[in-house]
Point group: C2
Chain length 319, copies 2
């Protein structure tokens, strides 16, 4: 049973990989995420693609250990039913784990995508052998996968690890989740874009307007490009976002005292250096010396494969 299947279900695409227990990917498929009335069609497409992939790579069924699925939202990993998720309209309630189990006659492990990413770091990444590790993804939102005593912290009803939604500013900015003052409302790509676009409306950020030859609607990625080219306004915004991210990390340090924090996601990939620096400085300021000295704060090395490897890791975690 050398192989596993990893399925990373996102709002725009479904990525499927066939991989080894060492995390080597030997084949992959990618299909668009169909939504609303076409959700079930998408599930059928997943099954078809996997069948083809297995055939193509000439893998014996007996050599496949299981299927791991990472998916947004509060997944009950015992039941494996797709939960409510704003980016997967029409999917809620689909018994995805059971469907896959019936089709492939293999165990199916399904969990939240950020949790899966944490497992990817634990099984294939920089957190092997670590008992206390936190994976943080900073992209459109801010998510987390927490490994405590070597186990994924899912909580009593599978919403554990929602570190993007800890309150860092009482009565602060409105977050997409409905709360106010969440870490995500200050440190995510969405927050960075919002801050800039709000400022632009009040006459700031003329340099951005010139650079991108548009008046409004700057994305976090565009702002990062400008910052990396030395745009002062964009740099300042990233510095602030890094500072807020550090507040959240400081809180996690004092609560968990982890061996390691590993950070990934689109914002981390594109952000200017000042963002990382501000994050570290703020994490130090907002935590005790003991956990701050102990922790290693690192960038993920799994990069774009973190979703795939996270899903695959669910299969091999129990080994």
């Amino acid at each position: 049973m050398k192989y596993g299947i990893g399925i990373d279900i996102g709002g725009t695409k479904v990525s499927m990989v066939l991989g080894t227990r060492k995390g080597k990917i030997i084949g992959r498929r990618q299909i668009p995420t169909l939504k609303h009335s076409r959700a079930k069609e998408c599930v059928a497409n997943i099954v078809d693609n996997l069948e083809e992939l297995i055939k193509e790579k000439k893998i014996l069924r007996g050599n496949i250990k299981g299927i791991g699925v990472g998916i947004p939202g509060a997944v009950d990993s015992a039941k494996g039913i797709v939960p409510r998720s704003p980016n997967l309209q029409g999917w809620k309630g689909i018994p995805l784990a059971r469907i896959l189990k019936n089709k492939f006659k293999k165990p199916v492990y399904m969990t939240n995508d950020a949790n899966a990413a944490g497992m990817g770091e634990k099984v294939f990444g920089q957190a092997k052998k670590l008992k206390h590790m936190i994976y943080i993804t900073v992209s459109t939102g801010v998510g987390g996968g927490i490994i405590s005593h070597g186990r994924l912290l899912e909580g009593a009803n599978y919403v554990g690890g929602e570190i993007g939604h800890i309150t860092i500013v009482p009565n602060g900015n409105r977050c997409n989740c409905g709360q106010r003052g969440c870490l995500e409302a200050y440190a995510s790509g969405t927050a960075i874009a919002k801050t800039v676009n709000r400022a632009v409306r009040t006459g700031k950020g003329k340099s951005l307007q010139k650079r991108f030859k548009k008046k409004s609607g700057f994305s976090a990625k565009e702002i990062a490009i400008a910052a990396n080219k030395g745009d002062r306004f964009a740099l300042e915004v990233f510095k602030e976002a890094g500072n807020y991210l550090g507040i959240g990390i400081g809180t996690l340090l004092n609560i968990f005292n982890p061996d390691s924090i590993i950070i990934g996601g689109g914002v981390m990939k594109s952000a200017p250096k000042i963002h990382w620096k501000a994050m570290l400085k703020s994490a130090k300021k907002h935590s005790w010396p003991e956990p701050f000295k102990k922790v290693k704060i690192k960038r993920t090395k799994l990069k774009d494969e973190v979703g795939n490897l996270g899903a695959l890791a669910l299969v091999f975690d129990k080994d």
Copy 2:
């Protein structure tokens, strides 16, 4: 091996109990905590008192399973050496676990006092059989004991669970720990007293001055007494403190998604009802519906025994 010994070491007294695996206390001793150059004398006193207690209760050595010790600070429970602690001057570095083990030839389990209290709830209290539970103590400071997957979360170097020191107000009030904006700096008894005494200096709280016939230096307990008698100013201060406590609890709910949060400590015992109400309202506001609906937030029933039973629980946890 029916009996265990629990030792709760505090800044003013050392409490020792002899108890059963059901948490029944059958004998106890209490001695003052000697500090500075007399710390080692105090350890000798602990040993003497335990010897006497065992003799007095006619317990056979063979019926004693082990010794549990709860102590303030970041205890390395594997080593059992007394850590740095502002309230235990002169104790730092004493190999207490080894001393007790050599004297009594029994296993010694030593951990942070708030962590021990969490174990008390797990082994003897309302959290039996719960996998995800957080004990919060609100007294002079704010501390926590986190049970995750049925195990005490101690972290990589035993400073885990310091929930009093999560940042809830960026650049906020100075905390005793040196950070700014900690939960403890807003929700502890110390914080409540500070808020009131600061306000009194600017001419507020005349009702308190009248009630206690003094001009300044009101304690959290006095403020609670006034609040329970309907003093508006004192009630308002407790409402605010409850609100801040709820912010911290909301953060814990979104991170841990626990089955239960159990709260104890002097402030909880004396606070007016509005404090609990404000805490609940704020916890709801600062967390997602899923974890808030799931969690049961309760007062400890272990009351004044929580320290003793916590230490005792360390002995029986492994059963």
